[in-house]
Symmetry: C2
Subunit: 172 residues, 2 copies
Amino acid sequence: MAYVFRQATSDDCEVLMSLIQEIATYHHLQDDVTINAQVLKADGFGEDPFYKCILAELPVENGCKKASPVGYALYFFGYNVNHGRMVYLENLYVVSEFRGKGIGKQLMAKVAEVALAAGCMDMKFMTMEWNRRAKEFYLRLGAHDTTESEQLHCMELGTDALRRLAQDGKEP
Amino acid sequence: MAYVFRQATSDDCEVLMSLIQEIATYHHLQDDVTINAQVLKADGFGEDPFYKCILAELPVENGCKKASPVGYALYFFGYNVNHGRMVYLENLYVVSEFRGKGIGKQLMAKVAEVALAAGCMDMKFMTMEWNRRAKEFYLRLGAHDTTESEQLHCMELGTDALRRLAQDGKEP
């Protein structure tokens, strides 16, 4: 079947949000989701968008007015001080019953195409080491695990730490 | 001494580039740097900037027309499908003779301030596990090592892999 790949628009935020909820539930992280469709719309389709998204859909069939989404790739552009422009793949998801059909690879290929057209030299992303299926998929596409090869560790400062830090910076 | 912290402008790209070369040389990666000051200018100060940068400078003294840069924090905004807006700290650098004076923390605090004002909930970045001094600095600021706590691995697709992937996506 020929799936349709296209840039998400603000009209897709409800359906995108339902897929985000689905993946969070799959990872037992549903309580961790603090955004909603309105936030997604404001953050992705305002004046300074924080992300871009490519949707995979089943083609619209006769008698059916709306296409069914079967996956998405959410990404944003960034920078590397050595190589310049790069793309960061935040999240890739394919609805479970549509896995194994090449949709994930096609989504990655579309992001690669957009990224190269924007002058990006690298794609970065993170993966959970326990998710062997995802990791092997990325390795097959030519990705390197830079945590293994270069001892790179992912670090995170949460909201409370950010607030404390910003406050400390204001004090004389 | 009261250092000056301010957003970099396109006029700072020459000096920013010299600091980027300095850090690359420190890491024996000088041959890895493929950008130059013109590229930095185009990528950071055009219509759709790929990064933002805060500079730390020595205050301008009497008789001296130009401030001396002593460090920078280069960052960009991104997104997390669970929490929404976030900031990605690409690179933090303080010139060696000015280390241990709190300039790195002040740079981080300025990025935190800008990020919170933009509605970001988290800061993400990577650090080399062997760079104990950097790692301990980040942990003291309240950062978590999510490679250790959540088995998150950093992954990268280089230019050749991106091109192959984009090409594969175009073939029927």
